[in-house]
Amino acid sequence: MPRSLTRRFLVGAAVVAGLGLALPASAQDAPIRGGTLTALLHPEPPYLLSAVDPTLQMAVVTTKMYEGLLSYDLDMKPRPLLAESWKVAPDGLSYVFKLRQGVKWHDGRPFTADDVAFSLGVWKARHARGRQSYARVTGVETPDPHTVILRLSEPAPQMATVFSSYESPIIPKHVFGTGDLLSNPAASAPVGTGPFRFKEWKRGDNLILERNPDYWDTGKPYLDRVVFRFIADASSRAAALEAGEAQIGALTPVPLSEMARLTANPNLVATTSGYDYMAPVLLLQLNVRNKPLSDRKVRQAIAYAINRDTLTKTVWFGYGKPATGPIPSVVKAWYTTDGVPAYPHDPKKAEALLDEAGYKRGPDGKRFKMQTDPFPGGAEFTRTAEFIKQQLGRVGIEVELRTSDFPSYVRNIFGEYNFESTPMYNGAFPDPSAGLQRIYWSKAAQKGVPFVNATGYADPAMDHHFEDAQTQNDPKKRWQDFADMQRQAMTDLPVIPLMEMRFVTLANRRVVNHTITADGLIGTNFANVYLATPNPAAPK
């Protein structure tokens, strides 16, 4: 492994819970062949082409069929997948991948370097994040069918973390090479290299994958079938897990309020492992364009006024950890609290700061009104907004809730900047250039584009931290950039990090090896998954 990668990834160990947690006692035994694994998924993906669309739920399905060059284990260490070995030049200006030989697409055609070069073109031109991740790739060379060389105009250290099946899946050139990508029938019926083949998709009901007998990792996968069931109602999903009709659900498949009842079920096990790649953080984004939120003291007062411990324990049932900065502690490579301002719950200090800023309590005890738009992603976000309303009410800020459906929310916040504050979440990703630059960098702001800088925050020093880090090949200097970034983010507070979120995978105890990569069910290909005892629910 190249030095620059080694160093970064050794520092970057990121594990929440040990893998052992999710495994039954029989995990030590030899894997059992056969059986059907039924997984719950909501919402149903529109099509199955993660090379273009990084929606998490879509990737839960596609990564069983399409694979990336690498996978990242629970410690964020890169592991070979379609690439057997790889090398990054010391100057960071070229990446060489040696591809696995004898790999075949599901239609029998051989997988070659041309497919990788073609896929890279797709990621760069069409993927929602790829344009930024691969911005500095200026050339791709394929000296032989099993070697790919990427040439860069400048170092792009964030690329070290983007070669996963989720972020950069490799698609066949002979299938997608001509015509529009999304109109291609294969956009809904993948032809990949992975351990499972597409079988059928009954929209609104289920999607079936079946074992690829010609998978390159001989003997795998162990399962005969993977079935995804689309159940829109969270309580019905809980019932399906309890009844044993489904054995696994990713991305917190049931309401957190039902988690205690479900984890008490001896057949079910919950794990928060496998989400470190996304590293989701609950944020309160503030629109700093207008008074009074344009005043830094007001924003700091809000940070002091919200009790993040109580928020985590009550609203989120403990599935989280109070955040200390924009980078969550699971991203160990870059996380620091050194010199980063902290905001322990202190309503008195909040009131003093608000007085200082000139927003004194009026005759009715109120200082000013603030609207808040909870992210339409479940009851927990609405309750977070209600919690904030109650907490800020105590220091004299009157909060008004405005709830909306998803399209209206996207339009209000990112299309028209018509908001004052919004509790929502953002994936910090293993590299801040990928996950955080988009919400703090002034040039990331693009009216109409969802989930980029919407706060109106623009600061030359902050821009500099990100711009330097983007092409900084010296890991020490890059670390310094991000440490400075964290300090400044917590001083200026255009975004108040509230809580590191812990997504939950709920699985039947029989399901073994479901979470073995940093991106969990979203990125792993299920080649190693097996059912510890024969599955009685599976149809013969």
Binding site: R229, E245, F406
Partner: protein, 338 residues
């Protein structure tokens, strides 16, 4: 003219076909007006399909968003989109659902059987059971049985559908394990013939009962009131004076006349049939049109939603025609306008 000749031939065999054809012809401008109104109404909702797709992806670049918008035709002015849409409708083309990456008509047809099965089953059960309970209640006015029927019916009417649905799931699927929690068939079982029918019936049982219990109260109450009204008519007194038995009066003389409001109600509800029941379909993961429509709203899938609304309006108009025909059959005094 051949067309005319065949129509008159038709009307010779089916005396009411003229009426039906005239009604159908009159409804064409109504369809178009509905389509245009729907289009404008949906355009007023904030956000579009590209916002949703890019939003769900969690990240996007301006170019990514622009590519989506141009693919969906959202970069064109609204009037051009409307003109396109109406133009397509006139060619009987319902368009493409970008959200589902599938043709709208194909999507609707795929979901139609599940919805029809559920709705016709539930309405049928509610209608027959409601009529029976209503007759029973009317024969024991203010008695214990009458009160029991009213209380039980109203209880189910007042209980939110999802609560009844989840209650049934917890009892029959989770605890007893007799019935599946949801879906239309056992996934991947590929049964055929009788086994398939039994499989679907097992999956259908809980959603059907949940929905039927809801409609039941309406029909039972309506039937009871309607029966009581007819019982007070003079001709019933005459029949009693003739010495007919109460049972015969109820079945032969009162029931048929008391059916009129029931048919009206059924006609109204058949209109909503295609819409399915969003709640029941969601709770039981039933792959029907109600959920499809709901998801189309949430994802601003304009073509799909317009397609569903349009087909629903076709069904409403057809149901109205059928109800009018049923009136004439039930009560010969009613004449259909020419």
């Amino acid at each position: 003219m051949r067309g005319f000749a065949s129509i008159s031939a038709l009307s010779r065999h089916f005396p009411r076909s003229h009426y039906v054809l005239a009604r159908v012809a009159k409804s064409i401008p109504v369809f178009l007006a509905i389509a245009v109104c729907n289009f404008i109404l949906l355009k007023l909702a904030p956000g579009d399909a590209a916002d949703v797709l890019a939003g769900e992806a969690g990240s996007a670049t301006p170019e990514y968003l622009a590519a989506l918008k141009s693919q969906f035709g959202l970069d064109q002015p609204t009037w051009a989109q409307l003109a396109h849409y109406v133009g397509r409708l006139l060619r009987l083309d319902l368009g493409w659902s970008f959200r589902n990456n599938q043709g709208v008509l194909a999507l609707i047809l795929e979901r139609l059987p599940a919805t029809l099965l559920l709705m016709i089953g539930a309405l049928g059960l509610a209608f027959i059971l409601g009529a029976a309970l209503g007759v029973l209640a009317s024969r024991h006015v203010n008695g214990a049985l009458d009160n029991l029927i009213s209380v039980v019916a109203l209880l189910f009417y007042a209980t939110p559908l999802f609560l009844v649905g989840l209650g049934l799931i917890i009892v029959f699927a989770v605890h007893l394990g007799w019935l599946p929690t949801g879906g239309l068939t056992t996934v991947g079982a590929s049964y055929t013939g009788l086994r398939f029918a039994v499989d679907v019936a097992l999956h259908l049982a809980m959603p059907l009962v949940t929905l039927a219990l809801f409609f039941l109260a309406l029909y039972a109450r309506l039937m009871r009131a309607s029966m009581l009204e007819v019982f007070n008519q003079d001709y019933v007194t005459t029949a009693r004076a003739k010495g007919l038995s109460e049972g015969r009066i109820t079945v032969r003389h009162v029931l048929r006349n008391a059916m009129m409001p029931m048919v009206t109600m059924l006609g109204l509800q058949v209109g909503t049939l295609l819409g399915g029941s969003v709640v029941v379909e969601t709770v039981f993961a039933w792959p029907g049109i109600g959920r499809l429509a709901f998801e189309a709203v949430m994802s601003r899938d304009l073509n799909l939603l317009l397609g569903i609304l349009l087909i629903c309006s076709v069904v409403v108009i057809m149901a109205n025609i059928l109800v009018d025909l049923a009136y004439a059959w039930l009560d010969p005094r009613i004449e259909l306008a020419r």
